[in-house]
Symmetry: C2
Subunit: 153 residues, 2 copies
């Protein structure tokens, strides 16, 4: 019996070490955003800033549960790669979509949209954002009704 | 005693479920590469092809242990985001560097370089590659000596 406990404990230790190694976030969480264009906590890690060689930014965003950006427009679009959790993505005039780890979402240039985490999950993505047409244009807050409608999808 | 075994087993099951959920690869492995510009197995998943809106490709590459691309040049450079494992990155005339999950590497335009996994680890990255200056230029194989030298760093 003691041998079984010993063996199970050893297995637990090995698994715990593997979990530590493999489930560590890919990139550090970065800075807690202090901007007024979202509700809820969002952490940003700028992985690569646009420059004369790479005319796009690469950034990781980590959302606390129920956090969401305001409606906004990317003048040159944006590609989102969801790396963890579950969130919503909605373009103006379209129903919200639930998106998950492994999804790749293309936000078209000039289209008003928002994204956020679901109430039950954190949400992380890496965004590649072309910089040649200028910065993100921030619009109105996502209303409680809009967020509720997303939840009901 | 039986209770302890029961409890340990329950803990194992819960941990295993969490491991499954969290360590699942972010993106599917994709296609095993059949090109003649690498040694060892490499899987490619094209997450986004260049088009008139997004003038860069986004692709995941998964390397088996000891797999490596040949020396090559990106005419407009490339940004690598290491998402798993450990690999080598070497630019012509420079010593190889060991790179890990969480590292972001910028390959400058026009610079001959290679990357590959270490002998003891698989290696995965997501690469963002500007397309405006044409395709990758493939050069010679990485020699056994070059790979050995990387290992000795």
């Amino acid at each position: 019996m003691k041998r079984i406990i010993f063996a199970l404990t050893q297995i637990l230790i090995v698994i715990a070490a593997r979990v530590d190694a493999q489930t560590a976030p890919i990139f550090v969480k970065g800075e807690l955003s202090a901007t007024n264009n979202h509700t809820g906590k969002i952490w940003l890690n700028e992985l690569s800033m646009p420059d004369s060689t790479f005319n796009y930014s690469v950034a990781q965003a980590v959302y606390d549960k129920s956090a969401k950006l305001d409606w906004h427009i990317h003048p040159a679009g944006q590609i989102l790669m969801v790396t963890e959790g579950e969130g919503y993505y909605q373009e103006k005039g379209q129903p919200a979509k639930v998106i998950h780890k492994g999804d790749v979402v293309k936000c078209p240039p000039g289209v008003a949209h928002w994204h956020g985490s679901t109430p039950g999950s954190t949400f992380t993505y890496v965004a590649v954002t072309p910089a040649q047409k200028g910065k993100t244009i921030w619009l109105q807050r996502v209303t409680d009704d809009e967020y509720k409608n997303a939840k009901n999808k």
